[in-house]
């Protein structure tokens, strides 16, 4: 098994810019890193049937999601030359304009970080059991569905 540190992926509510800044600054001691690629998913105020999305309420099948994320993580380390990677996803309510997903990939040379980050984000969207309920101003909702 690897020695990569494990922490919970899920965060209650939005991912704050202070949290992201703190993650970035923790990497200043890892001086083999030459590039970081960071993806942030932000909740859009989409208009669906004339109603505006004001928030997304996220839920998950936690045990299965953690297992799937572990597989995604192991595959990324096997396929790319990475120094480290971190994935955080919100649960509960995230308002339009707030951050719900934070994928942070660091490598010696930039290409690994770019390619791995993009692939990880696609895998999270396609394979991890997380559901987003889009909430409108009038408190009605629809269930979001990711397109492949």
């Amino acid at each position: 098994m690897t020695e990569k540190k494990k922490h919970s992926v899920f965060i209650e509510g939005p991912i704050t810019s202070a949290f992201i800044a703190d993650s970035i600054s923790k990497h200043s001691k890892k001086t083999t890193i030459g590039g970081h690629d960071i993806f942030l998913g932000q909740v859009r105020n989409d208009i669906i049937d004339n109603k505006t999305v004001v928030a997304i309420d996220y839920s998950t099948y936690n045990e299965m999601a953690e297992q799937k994320l572990h597989e995604i993580r192991e595959a990324a380390f096997a396929n790319y030359n990475l120094v480290c990677m971190h994935i955080y996803h919100s649960l509960g309510t995230v308002k339009a304009g707030e951050i719900c997903l934070f994928v942070f990939v660091s490598s010696i040379h930039r290409k690994d970080a770019f390619d791995a980050c993009h692939e990880i984000v696609e895998q999270i969207k396609a394979d991890v059991p997380i559901w987003g309920k889009e909430i409108f101003e009038d408190a009605s909702h629809v269930w979001k569905e990711n397109k492949s």
Binding site: S59, V121, I124, P129, E145, N146
Partner: protein, 77 residues
């Protein structure tokens, strides 16, 4: 025998509960049959089944105490 059924997202709205006990189903075909009888709305619904956290395709036999999850289309990120 008894299986533990978990329903997520929109499927939990249809079943009315996040967790149910289901008795006497030998495989996923029988389970789907039973669910559709109980919740006719499921017929029109596109979902996957996970048995003990692994997604299964086609008919899969079930054992006592298995956990089966009803997974609507994912929408994380």
């Amino acid at each position: 025998m008894e299986i533990n059924l978990l329903a997520f997202g929109q499927l939990a709205e249809i079943t009315g509960k996040a967790e149910l006990r289901i008795l006497d189903v030998k495989n996923t075909n029988e389970l789907n049959q039973k669910l559709i009888e109980q919740y006719p709305k499921l017929v029109a619904f596109n979902y996957l089944l996970a048995v003990n956290k692994k997604i299964v395709q086609g008919n899969t036999s079930l054992n006592d105490k298995d956990t089966v999850a009803l997974l609507p289309p994912f929408s994380g990120g």
